[in-house]
Point group: C2
Chain length 215, copies 2
DNA sequence: TGTACATCAGTGAACGCGCGTTCACTGATGTAC
DNA sequence: TGTACATCAGTGAACGCGCGTTCACTGATGTAC
């Protein structure tokens, strides 16, 4: 029952204005990401983050009202970067592209998304924190929802389809499975990154071929 | 870097022997599951669990060396229940079943797995905790690995295929995506449970039809 | 170009609280006789 | 069937520590003149 928690303030407080402050702000985020890897969500604390960032705790509180807000900022930045990869990828197709061209590019899309998530220190840990920590769930779900709707609309326009419920469901499922495959690939438990990405891409391709065949 | 953490003892200590003790033990697990929902991984503590279970903290320490061990027991029980659903599902097919029969049952499999995970209080939170908390990751990955290998072997036997790398990869991907779809369905952010399950099942079916076509 | 000063950034010290963990202990259970 | 007693189960009290958060403050920055 999510409602049993009191709601948590997630937005940052003061924005950093001076140069020094911007460095401090970035320092806080970088330290938090490192600590997410080293000690985990269950042990990360404002005290640890401030110490790692080389500032005192009240300095952290100047920018963030609590530790969830730090994690939220970290998650939002990663979601933005992932979504930018998706937008760039889609934009490469010309307006007369056919479905098979897009399908051939799925592998590339998943790979690039892996890359951008791996480049962010603690990328995997951030993604899993967004799943596991209640006040942050909304961030990931809303982000995926937005990308899925945009994706559905783009497919409809490109291929001249109706933007109906079944297309929206397919778009949402593809986005969600795509990002799940990316996490799986980075986590590494199910085989090498390249293997997981190519097998995941194949699954998504076959899914859309099935949809194409039934139209 | 996971290696930066000291390793954590996860196995239970004393097994409960008397009747009263068994009740206490189950009480601890139930309380932990409830608290995982109410306060989350980042705030759950042995103090809270003991209080909720109506015992003092040292009584908890009689059975579990630390809070990770409680979460581990919770996770192991859920993995076992999920895997039992899978085994039961597969066993229903006679030894002369054809691929299409299995594919037609995927929807049912995912739905039953959802059910068993939803029945467990805090089921979703347990699954996401297994992803996000480093010392527990191995439990989930090993469990999925075992199911995938068993699944690959069963498919090979049933359909008379070679149990080669490509079959093993396909089996692993199916298991991993299957469980990811189940989490997605229970989480509810991507549509109704029935929608997500049926769309996820369709994806897995189309994936295997693709594999069948290429053999 | 120099500097006064308003605003921004960060500090030091303190608070009460809940955390994990351990100890020597009392009380409950169940079984051997 | 009754009970002595070994073993199992749970308690009460205590510990030092790190947690989140706030306060009144000093110091740094940058710009208006």
């Amino acid at each position: 029952m999510a409602g049993a928690r009191e709601s948590v303030e997630l937005v940052a407080k003061n924005r950093p204005r001076q140069e020094r402050a911007k460095r401090t702000y970035e320092n806080i985020l970088r330290s938090a990401a490192e600590l997410l890897v080293e000690v985990g969500v269950e042990r990360i604390s404002t005290n640890l983050i401030a110490e790692r960032a080389g500032i005192t705790v009240p300095a952290l509180y100047r920018y963030f009202p609590n530790k969830y807000s730090v994690l939220h900022a970290l998650g939002a930045a990663l979601m933005d970067r992932q979504n930018a990869v998706f937008a760039d990828w889609f934009d490469q197709f010309s307006s007369d592209a056919v479905a098979e061209e897009l399908l051939a590019g799925v592998d590339d899309l998943l790979y690039r998304t892996c890359e951008v998530s791996r480049e962010q220190p603690g990328g995997l840990e951030i993604l899993q924190t967004l799943r596991a920590v209640e006040p942050l769930r909304k961030l990931r779900l809303d982000s995926h929802e937005r990308v899925a709707q945009q994706f559905g609309a783009q497919v409809a326009r490109l291929l001249g389809w109706d933007l109906d419920d079944s297309l929206l469901r397919a778009a949402r499922m593809s986005i969600e499975v795509g990002y799940a495959v990316v996490e799986m690939a980075i986590e590494g438990g199910a085989g090498s990154e390249a293997d997981v990405v190519s097998e995941g891409a194949r699954m998504i391709q076959l899914y859309w071929r099935g949809i194409l065949a039934s139209r």
